[in-house]
Symmetry: C2
Subunit: 208 residues, 2 copies
């Protein structure tokens, strides 16, 4: 009788994409998720936009100039990149692939077009769309930030509405009515995806 | 601008298949899962085997004679059926489809061949393979039951080893080292699958 190989001995990490219209509560939710799963890595994007007040280089973003971004892009160092509101954003490829191969989950905080590109290059990636409770709440949260002018807020609201139409491209949705419930749903998605048979790279026989 | 349809208004229930070699702890785990999710339905199979001590007709199984089983099968009333250890087993189609359409999750406690047939007919069904902690533990649990003779136990152990080789056909695996951990994993799989975009049949616009 052939040996039953039934215990996962080595598994790939999960790439988890979380997208949301700005103001949906994504930043808080991701922060809470990272606290709940300390072994999960958060991908740090490169961007050509200037740092906002309080942002830490290397933690929130790698801030680079357009020249450097273009050079990295030419060398294929981005798993995905995009130009949003006139600025470049890119997900570095190497830390992403190293983590996944090592069995570490990686969270990507990227937008709809970024998600599409990642899913193209990494079909096992899992995408989650976070839904705001309402448009009014979305507007309120955007206005509260005070970092953006009226015109930027309107632009972001329009973007939000357009992005919501893209939800069919995502694997999962999470409705952010209460942050605790949204967090539980997101955690369940991560835990479930860690139990996917397709991520197991090596099985070992069940011990006698 | 098109109306963003962003709140799930109607979703299909999830069909969850749980398979395991006998002795893996499936019955206990399923019982605990049903307690955790009172709105989930457990599919009750038809069988031609006689009831064991303590089994309740209509709850554990619908016990029928071979004649009746064959008639039901001829009328296409089974979503899947199989002959195992010389007895017929079948999953009734109507309650399954009614629950799923109504947005209710249904759990199917079926074996490897049943799982394959259900996935063929219902591609959105989710299959979970429960792994026993070890072969020795498996044997110990089978022996403890006292309902089965030595020959039956040996046959079930052989079946178990064969079934473990089929795990690649499953979506998820759950290793049953501790019942609490296995339950958490199974619950996460159910919760995650409830958040699948593909199960949403109707979206309504985000309120203003």
């Amino acid at each position: 009788m052939k040996k039953a190989k039934a215990v996962p001995a080595k598994s790939q990490g999960v790439i988890i994409i979380v997208s949301a219209p700005s103001g949906a509560g994504k930043t808080t939710l991701i922060k809470r998720l990272m606290q709940a799963f300390p072994d999960m890595r958060l991908s740090v994007s490169y961007t050509t936009r200037p740092p906002r007040v309080g942002e830490v280089p290397g933690k929130d973003y790698h801030f680079v100039d357009v020249e450097r971004f273009r050079r990295m892009r030419a060398r294929g160092e981005f798993a995905e990149w995009a130009k949003v509101h006139g600025r470049f954003y890119g997900t570095p490829r190497r830390p992403l692939e190293r983590s996944v191969r090592g069995g570490c989950d990686v969270l990507l905080d990227i937008d709809v077009q970024g998600s599409r590109k990642i899913k193209g290059g990494y079909p096992d990636a899992v995408s989650v769309f976070l839904l705001p409770p309402s448009l009014r709440e979305l507007e309120r949260r955007l206005s509260e930030r005070k970092t953006d002018g009226k015109e930027v807020i309107r632009q972001r609201l329009d973007n939000a509405k357009r992005e919501l139409g893209e939800i069919a491209r995502y694997d999962y949705y999470v409705l952010n009515l209460k942050i605790g419930d949204a967090l539980d749903a997101l955690k369940a998605i991560v835990v479930a995806e860690r139990h996917r048979v397709s991520r197991v790279q090596r099985w070992k026989p069940l011990s006698p």
